[in-house]
């Protein structure tokens, strides 16, 4: 008797959410493509956010987060009435959600998807499509109280975040004070990118250094760097722009991060920012296709104010072509 009751309770707990999920999907299929307008904007069919229904789930890079959040806000401001979630959990974790559990519709990433992640996605029937949406100049920053570091070379970065204990180990004229390191967590694309560029894909040196604080939350890093003149950290440029008054950004190899150097491709730590989705999701959930379309169409208008740099026109039009290909014949 007691066992039966307990089992009933457990079974109902499991079934209820499933049943609820099923019923909402059915109501959404009415005129799924009503949001497409006749006019083409920037090479894609125009989107009318007022007519887009259903929810969108995105997750991934904390670097891409401010940009996606801004696009989501604008999408809602222009009339989208559904719920769009943007989770800031790191590129790696984002891909995990996208390719293993299949919980997210769009994966934000600050590094390209890895082959093994594509293979994983295929096992759950997803075929990731890449959209470049902007460019980040990875900002290596120190506190504005720090007066001695203005620029570093790539080799010096490897020392600062690796073997060196004191600042004076890197350059003799720097003070003999311990380096306090604030780096993005191991699940973030920024971490992966930095390891690849500076440490030739081997994270050992960076993780075994003394005084390392890791966090997926870039605001924690900002707080830490700002707190001490002997602290250094790196994160997406947008987080530097937001905290310009308390942080100094370093020149890398004598090159300042700016729109010119990033667009010209000379800033050494510039990297593309990505969205990933999948054609079957975009067809099943037209709201996802609508949002990506909207994103690709207007991202360049928003990207600078968030603190990043526009993707090249070539990269954007490649993304638009991928969108058209994915949605071919559906509307």
């Amino acid at each position: 008797m007691k066992k039966i009751l307990l089992t009933l309770l457990l079974v109902s707990l499991i079934i209820l959410p499933v049943a609820a999920g099923g019923s909402t999907e059915q109501t959404e299929t009415v005129d799924a493509y009503g949001w497409i307008e006749d006019q083409m904007v920037n090479g894609l069919p125009g989107v009318n956010p007022l007519k887009v229904t259903g929810n969108i789930v995105t997750a991934g890079s904390s670097t891409v987060f401010p940009l996606s959040e801004r696009m989501a806000e604008r999408f809602s401001e222009e009339g989208y009435s559904g719920t769009i979630t943007v989770d800031s959990i790191g590129s790696g974790a984002g891909f995990e959600r996208f390719t293993v559990a299949g919980e997210s519709d769009i994966s934000n990433a600050s590094r390209p998807i890895k082959d093994k992640e594509i293979a994983q996605a295929k096992t759950i029937g997803r075929n990731p499509i890449e959209f470049k949406v902007g460019t980040d100049a990875l900002a290596v920053t120190v506190s504005s109280k720090n007066t001695f570091v203005k620029d570093v070379t790539l080799e010096e970065l490897a020392q600062i975040f690796g073997s060196a204990v004191y600042w004076s180990d890197v350059r003799p004229q720097w003070p003999k004070e311990e380096i306090m390191r604030f780096i993005p967590g191991t699940d973030s694309g920024t971490f992966d990118y930095f390891v690849e560029e500076i440490f030739d894909k081997d994270a050992t040196a960076m993780l075994s250094a003394e005084n390392v604080q890791l966090s997926e939350d870039d605001n924690i890093l900002v707080q830490g760097v700002k707190g001490s003149e002997y602290a250094i950290g790196f994160f997406g440029y947008a987080y530097y722009v937001e905290n310009k008054d308390v942080l100094n950004v370093l020149d890398i190899e004598g090159i300042e991060a700016s729109e010119d150097t990033v667009n010209a491709g000379v800033y050494p730590l510039a990297r593309p920012l990505f969205l990933y989705s999948d054609a079957s999701i975009m067809k099943e959930k037209p709201q996802v296709a609508a949002f990506i379309n909207f994103y690709l169409t207007y991202v360049t208008e928003e990207v600078t104010s968030v603190g990043y740099f526009p993707a090249s026109e070539e990269a954007l039009s490649q993304g638009r072509a991928s969108w058209l290909e994915a949605m071919e014949g559906t509307y």
Partner: protein, 305 residues
Amino acid sequence: MKNTVPHPYGKRIRLHETVIESLLFLFALMSVMITVGIVVILFKESMLFFSSDEVTLSQFLFGTKWQPMIGQFGVLPLLNSTITTSLIAMLVALPLGLSVAIYLSEYATAKTKSIVKPILEILAGIPTIVYGYFALTFMTPLLRSIFGEEVVQMYNTASAGIVIGILILPLVATMAEDAISAVPKELRLASHALGSTVAETTFHIVLPAALSGLSATFLLALSRAIGETMVVALAAGAGPKLTFNPFEGAETITGYIVRISGGDVSYNSVDYTSIFALGLMLFIITFTLNLISRSISAKYHMEYE
């Protein structure tokens, strides 16, 4: 049903009584089952961690570096900072909490008591995340302005420890007050009759008599401090470091668990199973403390008739 006394007039037992009894039993059973389930999962996942080729038990217990990404599995840095923050918390909470308890039970008038106690209870109701930001945005800057920014790092265990102390203060105060109030009034009256002052009575008669309850209080507060998560996750630092300097940042066991689970790492990785091993370790520590606290109150519990 076994315990029901047969009705003196031989009436049969009412059906709804049985239903209610079995329902209540079911709920009691459920909470036990949940506990059992948690323990089973902790053990199962920890076994995955310890059975992994990279990890040995001795390395786990005595290694001085914790960085699972690159195969370093020494728990000492995490354990050390957990102990540091908890000790600091106890240094804050014990004297304060005990003083509050003594004041409330021995000195305060009924009116003051009716004002102070609810305020303490409000303190207990504040979400721990708020305490976390309190540590980060108030306590840390305060410490830094007192001891100098050179000495006190932005993230440090001292700030987190002090704030955990404030957080467990209401727990210590109310439980200690219960323990002290449980001492029979006759003892106090006898002491007064022999000419002792209130202070003498409190420190020589009442506190020793309440010792078992007080030790139980302290141990429970300690396990609460060890398990505290939000405050250390925000204020104590996000990198494992073996340091005895409370002004340096060092990640605690709970802080590490939060950081790793927050980024949802891959389920197959040793990082992921490591958090269960750490959870198991925390569980064993707090469980032992609770057992000790129970046996103390059972052993030294004095009956006054």
